[in-house]
């Protein structure tokens, strides 16, 4: 590919693309080609005259759809010309998807060319190294042409699909190449290549996806985005398409999108159990980690996995497919069977990697060079099936040192360990906090809070909580909690998981805000973990994750209403959290307060409280 000219990328934020033509000489080398070309032209003209109107209409429909889809496709060039690939814009304000393996060589800043001929500066927002995803933000306009997200669960084998992108970095004039094919397979599981990368639940297509197409869009016949192309089976025929390319499904991407917006380096999930298929077609638990949430929820060695994440499980691949589409930290329904009895539960998925382990793998330095990396999830491909390869293009050896990071990128970039770009974490934390404050600004009520109500089925209940601690008067008696340096032992009332400490932390957030809470970051979006099976298909909530007094707290905030729906307090990392589910919000002096509180711990419901009488005090002037 040395003959293909490399783009020259000026450092300006917006430049008109130089139109670089491909070398022509090769095309007209042999006279025979002229004959063939002429023949083709003549004959297609003749054929056209006889073509059924329906055929022409179908063609023109396709042309229209592709023309629109091309507009959203981007050609990515690393800042400084170190390789590149493809991507696709998914929002008018310029958020775009690509592969992690495409953006990795670029570092934080890159240049993105679009079909209308403009080159835009872009910054990395978040990455998912295991799932090979990257979220970027392009700068320069608020009306970017963008792709409509489709629904990859409705894609069928045999559907027409087309890919757009920058194969072999041909798009030096930013015009994407479009290739057409069908969906060859769905829910494909592709074994990890190397230590990190894993393509689970991906789409397989025979549209010609080549090196450089990586990160680019796969569209359905209506031009809806159904996947991000990133891998192909190549093996012995050289690194060109052999009719087998793979795309990350858009529904998996939707699951990760919130976490990517958080500017994070997102990890994938593990159930804490290894499964194996039996000869009779059942998938059973072959190994389980006793400290895992799955174990606490009752899953044991030998149990049959019936369904996972709402999908029936009949092969190990199907299990891995489901696991691969969820980010670390999500709660996912599991149905399992033991001795004819069926159990259903929600399991909180742990990370595949430790936080440090993931960072070390990313930096390419093993945690302990003397130790081989531990096998993950029993990932050994069957004999003779090499994992398909990602499709990076080799960096240009002649590329010079990267130019300075553009000013607009600098303004949107904040380095922090463990994050791809902390700027976007703050941006979203502040956005969510603003939503919460819009429902009620409690900053001035820094004095004690008292609420009276009823413990349903038990009797009267009263809680009061302040900066110093919390107390409750319940039918069983009175309990007091005093806030100290560490909250780790604050488990009162018994069997609640630490209701008093949780109420104390809830007030602490509402009164003090993110800055005084301790640390508070944006996790991303996660499913609202309702224990009501019927309503489990509900949408995602924005999650703020923080720590205070040595315990971790997660706040789930409904994106539409801005209401706090759930607070989960983890006194210990290997134990279940105390869950406070807030609902039935009522107005109180121009602010909203919950009328109902449901308290859960582990598999148990501690109690449902009707909160009727709120008294919020401002700080007494004589107390600091």
């Amino acid at each position: 590919m040395n003959g293909v000219p490399r783009p020259t990328i000026p450092g300006a934020e917006l430049v008109r693309a130089p139109t670089i033509l491909l070398p022509r000489s090769e095309f007209a080398r042999i006279p025979l080609c002229l004959v063939v070309t002429l023949g083709a032209l003549l004959s297609s003209a003749i054929a056209r005259a006889e073509v059924d109107e329906a055929v022409l209409q179908a063609e023109s429909q396709r042309v229209t759809v592709m023309a629109k889809a091309r507009e959203a496709t981007i050609a990515i060039f690393a800042n400084g010309g170190q390789g590149g690939g493809s991507g696709v814009v998914i929002s008018p304000d310029g958020y775009a998807l690509s592969n992690f393996h495409v953006t990795k060589p670029s570092g934080d800043a890159m240049k993105c060319g679009m079909a209308h001929g403009t080159l835009y500066d872009a910054v990395i927002v978040g990455v998912d190294p295991v799932g090979d995803l990257a979220l970027l933000k392009l700068f320069g306009r608020d009306d970017f042409p963008h792709a409509e997200l489709g629904d990859s669960d409705h894609v069928q084998v045999g559907d027409w699909a087309f890919a757009a992108g920058n194969p072999f970095l041909l798009a030096t004039d930013f015009q994407p190449t479009v290739t057409y094919g069908i969906i060859s397979g769905i829910h494909r599981y592709q074994y990890p290549s190397g230590t990190l990368l894993e393509y689970a639940d991906c789409l397989q297509t025979d549209a010609s996806i080549n090196p450089g197409n990586s990160g680019g869009p796969l569209f359905d016949s209506q031009g809806r985005l159904i996947g991000i192309n990133g891998r192909g089976s190549f093996e012995k025929r050289g690194r060109v398409n052999v009719g087998v390319g793979y795309a990350i499904s858009i529904n998996q991407i939707k699951n990760f999108l919130g976490c990517l917006h958080a500017g994070r380096i997102v990890d994938h999930a593990t159930l804490g159990a290894r499964v194996a298929s039996q000869d009779d077609g059942r998938v059973i638990v072959a190994d389980i980690v006793e400290s895992s949430d799955a174990y606490r929820r009752g899953l044991r060695y030998g149990d049959e996995i019936v369904s996972f994440g709402g999908r029936p499980i009949r092969t190990v691949n199907a299990f891995k497919n489901v696991l691969g589409i969820f980010p670390k930290g999500w709660r996912v329904p599991v149905v399992f069977r033991r001795k004819g009895q069926t159990f259903e539960t929600l399991v909180r998925l742990a990370g595949v990697h430790g936080t440090e382990e993931l960072l070390q793998k990313l930096s390419g330095k093993p945690a302990d060079p003397d130790q081989p990396p531990p096998p993950r999830r029993g990932d050994k491909p069957p004999d003779g099936q090499p994992p398909p390869e990602p499709m990076p293009l080799p960096p240009n050896a002649s590329a010079h040192a990267p130019p300075p990071v553009p000013e607009i990128v600098k303004q949107h970039l904040e380095a922090r360990r463990g994050y791809a770009n902390y700027y976007f974490n703050k941006l979203n934390r502040d956005r969510v906090w603003k939503q919460l404050v819009a429902r009620g600004d409690f900053a001035e009520f820094a004095g004690p809070w008292v609420v009276k109500g009823e413990w349903l089925g038990a009797g009267e209940a009263e809680f009061s909580f302040s900066n110093e601690g919390a107390m409750c008067a319940l039918p069983g008696g009175m309990l007091t909690f005093t806030a100290g340096d560490s909250l780790a032992d604050a488990t009162d009332p018994p069997a609640s998981g630490g209701l008093l400490a949780a109420l104390y932390l809830w007030r602490r957030l509402l009164v003090g805000g993110p800055d005084q809470f301790g640390s508070l970051d944006y996790y991303g979006a996660a499913p609202f973990a309702s224990h009501d099976v019927a309503s489990r298909q509900g949408g995602l909530v924005d999650v703020l994750i923080g720590s205070s007094g040595g315990v971790e707290c997660q706040f789930g905030i409904d994106a539409a209403s801005g209401r706090l729906l759930v607070l989960e307090m983890f006194l210990r990392s290997d134990d279940d959290p105390c869950e406070l589910h807030f609902s039935d919000y009522h107005e109180f002096e121009g602010r909203e307060l919950p009328g109902k509180l449901e308290v859960r711990y582990g598999d148990g419901l501690y109690g449902v409280f009707k909160l009727t009488n709120w008294t919020l005090h401002k700080p007494a002037e004589d107390t600091p």
């Binding site: 590919m1 003959g3 090769e26 095309f27 007209a28 080398r29 042999i30 025979l32 080609c33 002229l34 063939v36 070309t37 023949g39 083709a40 004959s43 297609s44 006889e50 073509v51 059924d52 329906a54 055929v55 179908a58 429909q61 396709r62 069928q156 084998v157 045999g158 559907d159 027409w160 094919g181 069908i182 060859s184 397979g185 829910h187 494909r188 592709q190 397989q204 025979d206 016949s221 089976s233 093996e235 012995k236 025929r237 050289g238 690194r239 060109v240 052999v242 009719g243 087998v244 298929s277 000869d279 077609g281 009949r314 092969t315 691949n317 199907a318 069957p382 004999d383 003779g384 099936q385």
Partner: protein, 388 residues
């Protein structure tokens, strides 16, 4: 752009659409020279494919919706007939799996004859995930086909007795478990393409490597991938057209040919194998034989009598003064490879020799005691089949 040279069969529409027909023409010249009419009629391939393939097939369709509609319905009907086959292999780049399809409700599976089946433990996984131990009913090395039998009833299947046919430009679907992507109840992969031409496949050994000489569908899609051999080629209505062949590479110019053997070429043999009446046609005699084929006799080698189904090819005698004697071969040597091709029986040697021209140098690898010995020799010109 030299990478594209490996895609001879893909040279029709893709390149034309990109205005690169000049390259196609030049590429085709090279390959035609290289493969010595591997595909008779390939000379006309580019033009024919360019001019005819897209429109005639589509013009018959009724409305725009049909034209842009999914193949999903057809594919759903075909998938239950496709089987994943597992057997020998798993080392040195030999995939231990291939594809096949059901040709009777009582569990006859048609697939390609290959090393994968060279084991007593062949497993067939049906589309619904059920696994069966399969019995090898019979093979026809000439057609490179094998018929397996699994113990099941009432299976969906293709009917070989009423095959569909397709001409140049016809849209086709290729079903196979390429790269072993699917396991258990996961459906096989489906690729789409067009018939570039239906033509005589005469892939001379050493250039393109296949014993099959006969009509074949030459396809413009990359259907013949690792593990895809034995898969089904259907038309757009899901009717069986043929069986996907093995990977076929031109060793001179590193191009790959994607082809399928038409149903009508295989139907009679499959029926004979099912009826237990099939007699393997000796490949070193009759019509399939090369006019100037090599034989062990021409080399001065006499092998042990062929008394078993798979008689180990031990050397019985070496005629004095013969090329074999000059090369140092001895009685009791066990022949392992002919031109790098594993030969496991006296029959296999005959078949392999029949593909080699007697004027060509042949490389033999023998096992003598614990020692592997490789020699190169040319048949003596004065001795021929006729002198015996």
């Amino acid at each position: 752009m030299s990478d594209f040279g490996s895609r001879i069969s893909d040279c029709g529409l893709n390149f034309a659409a990109r205005g690169m027909s000049g390259q196609v023409a030049s590429r085709r010249c090279h390959s035609a020279m290289g493969c010595q009419s591997a595909v008779r009629g390939l000379a006309g391939l580019v033009g024919v494919t360019l001019l005819l393939s897209a429109w005639p097939a589509m013009a018959k369709a009724a409305d725009t919706a049909t034209l842009n509609s999914s193949f999903a319905g057809v594919i759903d009907e075909v998938q239950p007939k496709i089987a994943k086959i597992y057997g020998a292999g798993g080392f040195r780049g030999l995939e231990p799996y291939q594809s096949g399809f059901l040709v009777s409700p009582e569990g006859h599976v048609l697939t390609v004859w290959s090393y994968v089946l060279d084991t007593d433990f062949i497993t067939v996984t049906l589309n619904d995930g059920r696994k069966f131990e399969a019995k090898l009913l019979g093979v026809d090395p000439r057609l490179e086909l094998a018929v397996l039998k699994i113990d099941a009833q009432g299976l969906p299947c293709f009917d070989l007795a009423s095959p569909a046919v397709a001409g140049t430009g016809a849209r086709v679907l290729a079903f196979s478990n390429l790269f072993g992507v699917a396991t258990g109840d996961e459906p096989s992969s489906v690729l789409h393409g067009s018939v570039a031409i239906k033509s005589q496949l005469e892939a001379r050994h050493g250039v393109f490597e296949t014993p099959y000489r006969g009509p074949a569908y030459i396809l413009d899609a990359m259907t013949n991938n690792p593990g895809a051999a034995g898969g089904a080629l259907t038309d757009r209505q899901g009717r069986l057209l043929g069986m996907l062949g093995k990977e076929l590479r031109n060793s001179l110019n590193n191009t790959w040919l994607n082809y399928a053997v038409p149903v009508e070429e295989m139907a009679a043999t499959v029926a004979e194998i099912r009826a237990g009446k099939f007699v393997e046609r000796p490949t070193d005699a009759g019509a399939a034989k090369r006019e100037n084929a090599l034989s062990t006799d021409l080399l001065g080698l006499v092998l042990v009598p062929d008394v078993l189904e798979r008689t180990p090819p031990f050397v019985d005698q070496v005629r004095a003064g013969s090329p074999a004697a000059t090369a140092g071969l001895r009685p009791d040597d066990l022949l392992l490879f002919v031109n790098g091709q594993l030969v496991q029986s006296v029959k296999a040697i005959s078949a392999e020799m029949a593909r080699i021209d007697r004027s060509d140098m042949v490389q033999l690898t023998v096992l003598r005691g614990q020692q592997l010995i490789t020699v190169e020799l040319v048949a003596s010109p004065e001795r021929s089949d006729g002198t015996e």
